[in-house]
């Protein structure tokens, strides 16, 4: 059966590159998108959220913060404004950032632009926290039960 190849690139670097992927779940602008091989050509904006790549039963998760996704001929090309692999996320920093954003939002007196920035910062840090928590949960609970068959 056909497989997908995936590349995730930001302005600074190539974050992720993988072939023989079974399925990708991406945070599309109009809600989550599940992409399987032989998908029709599609072009979408990305919102910020979690992206999951499933390959041989193993799941890899990434944080994506806006950008573009194109799928054509079983090749997924993602140009993200920013992206991180789950293991790269700095949990402490994300926690601090979230608290800072929440307190700035609750002060609520500053200009709308500042509010928007705080809102965005909060959403970003929450995506980071969610992903790294799930990763930790998986590692603590199941261990390395999901072994790849080959």
């Amino acid at each position: 059966m056909a497989k997908l190849s995936v590349e995730i690139i930001t302005g600074e670097r190539v974050v992720y590159e993988e072939s023989d992927v079974d399925m990708v779940v991406a945070p599309g602008a109009d809600g989550a998108l599940g992409l399987l091989p032989s998908h029709a050509p599609l072009f979408t904006l990305l919102s910020l959220g979690e992206m999951r790549v499933i390959k041989s039963g193993e799941e890899q998760s990434l944080a994506v913060f806006g950008g573009f996704l194109e799928i054509a001929d079983d090749h997924i090309r993602i140009l993200a404004d920013a992206a991180e692999r789950a293991e790269e996320i700095d949990v402490d920093r994300a926690e601090v950032a979230r608290e800072r954003a929440v307190s700035r939002k609750s002060e609520g007196t500053s200009a709308t632009e500042d509010m928007m920035r705080a809102e965005l910062a909060m959403r970003r840090s929450m995506v980071r926290l969610k992903i790294s928590r799930r990763r930790q949960g998986r590692q603590g609970g199941g261990g390395s039960s999901a072994q790849s068959p080959n």
């Binding site: 190539v14 979408t44 194109e70």
Partner: protein
């Protein structure tokens, strides 16, 4: 023939100079490494973005869509904007003069003529040259940080796209230096606006768009300009530091050569002096024996 003392003074002065050029070479080398890394790291993104736009080219080039996307609009060029990207500092070999010469040549060949070109200078060298040359500047950007981020180029992007959309200029070009490798950099001209969709590479596909084609293209096109301007700046910075490192290495090598030559002349002069002294003493001794 200069006296040994004069020669010694020149030797020490050249030694000082070579120490300075060596230090500058080292500084340039470390900046170069970082800049080269940055430029190679950001190339995949701009190339992929180009491919994406290429995939949508058929749609983007459709005449009826053009009205919806002002950044694609092609009109008769009566006035254009040229962004000249140079360095803030000199001592980088022919780096600045090459890109300036290339820019001037490009401007001379334009049909709209010098007086209809809005000049945007990025880098002090280009700004100073254009001021001396008498070409008025609509904007100049100097003291750009070594570690460029896309936020640093936002103001330039804004000037370019606002002037273009408002119809003040009908095209925007960037004159920059393409980084090829440490020893080779080439001045080039890149058309920024209107966006020239690259040749449609693959077969025309029937894409599904989310949320819809207009929204997607309206997000993609400005991003493309941003990335292109950012990329030309990164290319220029990497070229600048490479050119400077090579220039300073040559300077250090030349200084060493002159130093060797002067040391040779110095030894000769010293020996000649000693010989002269000895023969004078000998002559004096002979004279006294008489």
């Amino acid at each position: 023939m200069p006296t040994p003392r004069e020669i010694r003074r020149r030797i020490s002065s050249i030694k000082n100079t070579s120490q300075i050029t060596r230090a500058m070479e080292m500084v340039a080398a470390s900046k170069m490494r970082r800049a080269q890394q940055a430029v190679t790291a950001s190339r995949p993104y701009s190339e992929r973005l180009r491919l994406m736009i290429g995939d949508l080219a058929a749609m983007a080039a459709g005449a009826e869509e053009q009205a919806e996307f002002p950044l694609l609009e092609r009109r008769e060029i009566k006035r254009s904007q040229v962004m000249l990207i140079t360095a803030d500092r000199g001592l980088a070999g022919a780096f600045n003069s090459n890109v300036i010469r290339h820019g001037l040549q490009f401007m001379r060949e334009r049909e709209e003529g010098f007086e209809n070109i809005d000049m945007v200078a990025i880098g002090r060298k280009g700004r100073d040259f254009m001021t001396r040359f008498g070409q008025p500047l609509v904007a100049d950007f100097t003291n750009m940080p070594d570690r460029l981020s896309i936020d640093d180029v936002r103001p330039m992007i804004q000037i370019a796209s606002e002037d273009f959309i408002a119809g003040k200029v009908d095209a925007v070009y960037a004159v920059y230096t393409q980084f090829i490798n440490t020893l080779r950099q080439e001045p080039r001209v890149l058309q920024i606006l209107p966006i020239e969709p690259p040749e449609d590479t693959g077969e025309a596909r029937d894409y599904i768009f989310e949320p819809d084609p207009t929204t997607v293209l309206n997000a993609l096109l400005p991003r493309y300009i941003e990335v292109q301007i950012y990329q030309t700046l990164l290319e220029s910075v990497a070229s600048e530091h490479s050119a400077r490192m090579v220039a300073m290495r040559n300077a250090t090598d030349n200084a060493k050569e002159i130093q060797d030559e002067l040391t040779m002349t110095y030894n000769k002069a010293r020996q000649a002096q000693i010989t002269a002294e000895v023969s004078e003493i000998a002559a004096g001794a002979v004279a006294q024996q008489r």
